[in-house]
């Protein structure tokens, strides 16, 4: 008696973007994809879209930041935030995607119209 062959398929899809993050990528030391390799691929995908910032932390080698963020937030302030809030959780060889939204608001605007 022949056994009938059955397939069980689970299907799911969603839209993705390249690169698979919007604003910030933290690169751990000794990650398989090195700084130059990632930088080259970003250049191919979004020319002139990202800034590479070298980091001298125990487990963090570099940070790739969207230039749009840097227009809103100076690098020093951004790095201070990342250093306090993100870097302590990055392991060796890891690539960590960071979602960071900047919202700018003014309390009162007084100006002669």
């Amino acid at each position: 008696m022949e056994t009938a062959l059955k397939y069980s398929i689970t299907l799911r899809f969603e839209e993705i973007k390249l690169p698979p993050f919007d604003e910030i990528l933290v690169m751990g030391v000794n990650s398989p994809h090195g700084k130059h390799g990632i930088s080259k691929s970003f250049e191919l995908l979004i020319p002139n879209g990202f800034e590479i910032i070298d980091i001298k932390e125990k487990f963090v080698e570099a940070v790739f930041v969207s230039k749009r963020i840097l227009v809103k937030l100076p690098p020093e302030k951004l790095l201070k935030i990342l250093s306090d809030k993100v870097f302590p959780y990055v392991s060796e060889g890891e690539l960590v995607r960071v979602d960071l939204k900047v919202c700018i608001s003014y309390n009162s605007i007084e100006e002669d119209f």
């Binding site: 398989p32 994809h33 090195g34 700084k35 130059h36 390799g37």
Partner: protein, 383 residues
């Protein structure tokens, strides 16, 4: 030594965005890969680099390494590699890569070189030992020769002392006899005894004169002043010097010269040579014989022969005539004594002029002593 001969000019290349997996095998085989991007040099990648920087792409594994030139010494290059902890460096000439230099090639060369140095050292040691043995043997030989020469001189001095003592015995004996009996002896007897004293004194004087000349010559203190010499004038001087001895044996000396020019010689030395050779001829000549002194000229030299009709020389003795170690007291036909010192002097003086002396002799027939001296302005003159 520089690294020029050890540069690896056939190297493997990779692109910066090649995967490391692709070149891992190449790295194991070749130790280093040169990374180039559109012919532009990027760097040298070694197996050590991919261990230290474990990335996927070649460019991420690269570490900065300075380049070297082919004029770098092996020591400089190895020191730099040690400092950078790398085993390969790129070699540049005028901003262009000409090859890579590998640590393993440098070390292999040094180890081979060290082996060759050791081999060379071993060879040199063996040569040195051989040389040492050879020097020891030469020193032994020279020591023996020097001892032999010393012994010969001792023997010679003993003969000289003996020959110097003899004439004094005659002088002292006859003068004592004369003093005691001067009133009893007639004029003829007195003349005979004074002649004996005079002959002995002359003989001693000649011997002392030869001895002094020889000792000066041995210590290179004798002056050598060659100048133009007229042979005929010299003959006259010698003739007067030997006149008494010639008359006592009723000999005749024939001076004959086919050479009319002038020769180039130290006149005192030439006089000593001629006087000694003629004195010897007189000494070994029998009464009433002739002595011939001939001078002939060839293209470069004047050859002077002193020929006697005397006793001749034993063939066994001819080879030793000019050898100090074989000197012994000789006796003339009238029991005249001599040491052979004069012949040693003749040889020394002739050779000082760049000439040579030889002898031909036959027992019972006579001897021919021949010596050559350079002509004045002779092209081949060694004086």
């Amino acid at each position: 030594m520089d690294i020029s001969k050890l540069i690896n000019k056939k190297y493997v290349t990779a692109k910066p965005f090649d995967g490391v997996a692709k070149i891992r095998k190449l790295l194991i085989e070749d130790t280093a890969v040169v990374v180039v991007d559109d012919d532009k040099y990027i760097g040298v990648l070694t197996a050590l680099d991919i261990i230290k920087n474990p990335h996927i792409l070649v460019v991420d594994c690269l570490e900065y390494k300075p380049t070297v030139s082919s004029e770098y010494s092996i020591y400089q290059t190895l020191t730099l590699m040690d400092k950078l902890e790398t085993n390969a460096l790129a070699v540049f000439f005028e901003n262009t890569i000409i090859g890579i230099i590998l640590q393993k090639d440098l070390l292999r060369f040094l180890s081979q070189h060290e082996f060759e140095v050791e081999k060379e050292l071993l060879l040199r040691t063996e040569e040195f030992e051989e040389l040492n043995c050879s020097i020891e043997s030469i020193v032994d030989e020279r020591t023996k020769e020097l001892n032999a020469i010393n012994n010969a001189k001792d023997k010679f001095f003993a003969i000289l002392a003996h020959d110097l003592k003899n004439p004094f015995n005659i002088i002292l004996g006859f003068s004592d006899l004369l003093l005691m009996n001067i009133s009893k002896f007639d004029k003829e007897k007195i003349a005979f005894q004074v002649t004996q004293i005079s002959n002995a004194a002359n003989q001693t004087f000649t011997l002392l004169e030869n001895l002094l000349s020889w000792s000066l010559s041995q210590s290179n203190k004798i002056s050598f002043d060659p100048q133009s010499v007229c042979l005929d004038q010299l003959y006259k001087i010698i003739d007067s010097e030997v006149k008494v001895a010639v008359q006592s044996k009723n000999l005749k000396i024939n001076f004959k010269s086919n050479f009319q020019g002038e020769m180039y010689a130290d006149i005192n030395m030439l006089q000593t040579i001629l006087r000694n050779l003629i004195s010897n001829a007189i000494k070994f000549s029998y009464k009433n014989k002739q002595i011939h002194v001939n001078a002939e000229q060839n293209s470069t030299h004047v050859v002077i022969s002193v020929i006697d009709e005397g006793t001749g020389i034993n063939p066994e003795m001819i080879d030793y005539l000019f050898d100090i170690s074989q000197k012994t007291t000789t006796h003339g036909t009238e029991n005249e004594k001599g040491t052979g010192l004069g012949l040693l002097l003749c040889k020394e003086y002739v050779e000082k002029h760049g000439g040579s002396i030889s002898v031909q002799s036959e027992l019972g027939v006579g001897s021919n002593f021949k010596f050559s001296l350079p002509l004045i302005n002779s092209e081949n003159s060694t004086v």
